[in-house]
């Protein structure tokens, strides 16, 4: 299967990408966001909401943001309250949120004292992440994980209890990974809802309690099916770091985590979500969660042949961002997709070229391989056949995580039977083609090889251009997904705050490897 690929070109892509990411990282390192600060509070153990459902962490952070003091870090104010006698973080946070007076940060205690007061809450917060990771590691070691490609399916009933039932059924039918799709537009709301939920549109609300309910079902089921079952949810959006933290402590295995998705497809402000992404990935790295990125989506708005190189370029940038946030390659589920117009001659060859190229460019990464979606039709038989070829490419090119195509993609969120049909179909193809990849050598200078080389060359060129102009301007002029997003447009910019020189964030300190 191996394609002849120019190592020097790959190295140059990586160099460009790191330069691009480092440039953005300078911005990130000078800023915080409301979502990051809320996450810090959650790490300290702050929880709950007021009677209107406004979470306490939101109330706290919003108050300091409105007062213009958030640049010092919410930890500063929480620490100060503790120094001044609050028994724990929760009480301190309640005081911040609902207290008559808002601390303006003037006067004692000293930063030193504040930092000292936060050592224990910080340790406990980090330990929750670490404990969850140990728990997961033990379960995986005990049960083992299914063979590659791992079979990934989504459930999306809107009702978490139905989701749990369907997750079990999917596992019984062979799924390795269950993603609970979020309710439409949850990514646009700037808080994380609370509790078990039974009403959602096009998906189910991502809440800590919902994570638990599904994890409990999978914990129970995985012993029966005898293999580790993975849970996935979504963190991209305005609450990226918070959901990452909740996912970390609830033992989620994968998180959709990609600022670019939020920017391009949800019109979230680029600055905001890139800052959020950084912090969320620090949490994720600590938690041992695998991220899934969303480059596959580009091919729904841009053409999958013309824009193939933008996917690759974006993957290099995403890799650089992830490295800067401390994520090892082994946790980077970079996304790509089988999205070429099915009426095109030799589309299968082009798909194979792309899939194999991505596989080789990111050899240690748990690549996430997405099915055809845009070029599906309401003719489920035809669509099912398309998914058959997709499965074949998946196993032949050794993709790591395969989101199974659904024959009803163009119709509705998958029915239980759609998932069953997809799993049974993938089982057949994966088994029948198990060692196909090992058997094939591509004709030198043939269509497949040439296509892969062209895509790589175009990606290299694009990365050079983006490096020269900068990431924010590139996004603004529609380089990715044919969608234009200006640096100061979109949702959530108001939640970006410059860090003061006195900024305190002991959670970040630990995550970045410093003693808090």
């Amino acid at each position: 299967m191996l394609l002849p690929i120019d190592d020097a070109a790959v190295a140059e892509c990586r160099a460009h990408a790191m330069a691009i990411a480092t440039d953005v990282q300078r911005f990130i390192d000078r800023h915080t966001t409301v979502a990051i600060e809320r996450t810090v509070l959650r790490a300290f153990g702050v929880d709950g909401a007021d009677p209107d459902g406004v979470p306490l962490v939101n109330a706290c952070v919003e108050r300091h943001r409105a007062a213009g003091t958030l640049g010092r870090g919410i930890a500063t104010f929480l620490g100060r309250r503790i120094c001044r006698g609050a028994t724990d973080a929760q009480e301190a946070a309640e005081a911040i949120a609902y207290g008559d007076e808002l601390d303006d940060g003037e006067g004692g205690p000293s930063t030193e004292e504040v930092r000292r007061a936060l050592i224990e809450p910080t340790r406990r917060g980090i330990e929750r992440i670490d404990a969850a990771r140990r728990h997961r590691d033990a379960d995986r070691a005990r049960l083992g994980v299914g063979g590659a490609p791992l079979k990934y399916v989504i459930v999306a009933t809107g009702n978490i209890y139905d989701d749990a039932d369907q997750a079990r059924a999917a596992a019984q039918a062979g799924a390795d990974i269950i993603a609970v799709i979020r309710s439409t537009a949850q990514s646009l709301i700037d808080y994380v809802p609370i509790g078990a939920t039974t009403e959602g549109y096009g998906g189910t609300w991502a809440t800590q309690e919902n994570f638990r309910i599904v994890r409990a079902a999978l914990d129970d089921e995985q012993d029966k099916v005898g293999r580790y079952l993975h849970q996935v949810n979504y963190s991209s959006g305005l609450c990226m770091p918070e959901i990452a933290f909740l996912g970390a402590v609830e033992r989620l295995d994968m998180l959709l985590n990609d600022a670019m998705y939020g920017i391009l497809f949800r019109d979230i402000n680029p600055r905001r979500t890139l800052c959020d992404q950084y912090f969320s990935r620090r949490v994720i790295a600590r938690a041992g969660i695998t991220i899934n990125t969303g480059e596959d989506n580009y091919l729904t708005t841009a053409d999958a042949i013309d824009a193939a190189h933008t996917v690759v370029a974006s993957q290099f940038v995403n890799e650089a961002f992830a490295h800067l946030a401390g994520l090892p390659d082994e946790l980077m589920g970079l996304g790509h997709a089988f999205e070429i117009d099915k009426s095109i001659e030799d589309s299968f060859l082009l798909e194979i070229a792309q899939a194999q190229l991505v596989r080789q460019l990111f050899p240690r990464h748990p690549i996430k391989w997405m099915p055809a979606t845009k070029h599906k039709s309401g003719d489920i038989f035809w669509s099912h056949r398309v998914d058959g070829l997709f499965d074949l490419v998946g196993v032949a090119t050794g993709q790591s995580i395969e989101l199974l195509g659904m024959m009803t993609e163009a119709i509705h969120n998958p029915y239980l039977m759609d998932r069953f049909i997809a799993l049974k179909g993938a089982d057949y193809v994966f088994r029948a083609c198990r060692h196909l990849g090992e058997e094939i050598n591509w004709k030198p200078n043939g269509r497949v090889v040439t296509r892969a080389q062209t895509v790589l060359a175009e990606a290299q060129e694009l990365l050079g251009v983006v490096r020269a102009e900068g990431m924010f301007p590139a996004i603004a002029r529609g380089v990715f997904a044919d969608v234009k997003r200006p640096e100061t447009g979109g949702r959530g910019l108001a939640g970006v705050v410059e860090r003061a020189t006195t900024y305190v964030n002991p959670i970040l300190d630990v995550l970045e490897g410093r003693t808090p």
Binding site: A169, T184, T301, M417
Partner: protein, 262 residues
């Protein structure tokens, strides 16, 4: 060049000779259909019998349960073939269809220039929480759809695309600001009929805000003319709509109004 005449709304009900039809499996009139479904019971002899009775409950005869598969401990997936006795008189089947004149973009522009004498203003969006812009982009943006350029590319059109997740009120406000001739709404997400609710809410708001003359067009993969009419729109456009059809429809309507035709 075709002349913009005749009614563009519902086709007239013409009298046709009776034409009874049934489903066609392998022979005329055999009623053969295929069915698949899940029952929330464990697989087994009783489940299979339940599947058979279920199919009979749908009025099928000679039911053959060809697959019974365990889709979970308490879920069983079935494939069934059977013969339905449903007979329809095809002669009586009638649907309102949008009549879109077969004008080329060039013809449309010439018509606007010569007979309307001013640019046509349209504004479109994917409304509510829906973020699927590919459909409305296909109609409005330069790029267009399947080689057919979008309304932005028409010199005698002034096309505004507000993109995704647009609030109904925001869209109406903008339509008023620019004195839009037509408002184009796209609705893709249909779970639990969210598209219908949102689309209907838009029309109610528009009526309350006193919009009278503006054309309202609804589109999306699950939209058809009949549904759009039912929801209060002038016209509905489903899968495979090309920008040309939309341009033709709008211009034809504007000319008809100007020239006092229905």
């Amino acid at each position: 060049m075709a002349n913009p005449t005749g009614p563009t709304g519902e086709a007239l009900h013409r009298k046709r000779p009776p034409h009874p039809i049934r489903a066609y499996g392998d022979r005329m009139g055999d009623g053969g259909v295929q069915l698949s479904f899940t029952l929330p019971v464990a697989a087994g002899g009783r489940a299979k019998e339940a599947a058979r009775r279920f199919a009979e409950g749908l009025g099928l005869r000679s039911v053959l349960v060809t697959a019974m598969e365990k889709a979970g401990t308490e879920f069983t997936f079935f494939v069934v073939y059977g013969r339905s006795e449903v007979t329809l008189d095809f002669a009586e089947v009638e649907v309102p269809e949008v009549t879109t004149p077969e004008w080329t973009p060039k013809e449309v522009n010439t018509l606007v220039k010569e007979r309307l004498g001013r640019r046509v203003i349209v504004v479109g969006a994917c409304t509510g929480s829906d973020a699927h812009t590919v459909g409305i982009d296909a109609i409005l943006n330069m790029k267009g759809f399947a080689g057919d350029k979008g309304l932005e590319a028409y010199p005698w059109f002034d096309a505004h695309n507000l993109g995704a997740q647009v609030d109904n009120q925001a869209l109406l406000t903008r339509a008023r600001e620019i004195s839009a001739d037509a408002v184009l709404i796209s609705q893709i997400i249909t779970q639990r009929d969210v598209h219908k609710e949102n689309a209907r809410a838009f029309i109610e708001l528009a009526r309350r805000e006193g919009f009278r003359e503006t054309l309202f067009l609804l589109g999306g993969p699950r939209i058809d003319h009949a549904l759009a009419r039912e929801l209060g729109y002038d016209a509905g456009f489903g899968p495979g709509t090309r920008p040309q059809m939309v341009a033709g429809y709008i211009v034809e309507r504007l000319l008809a109004r100007k020239e006092g035709r229905p």
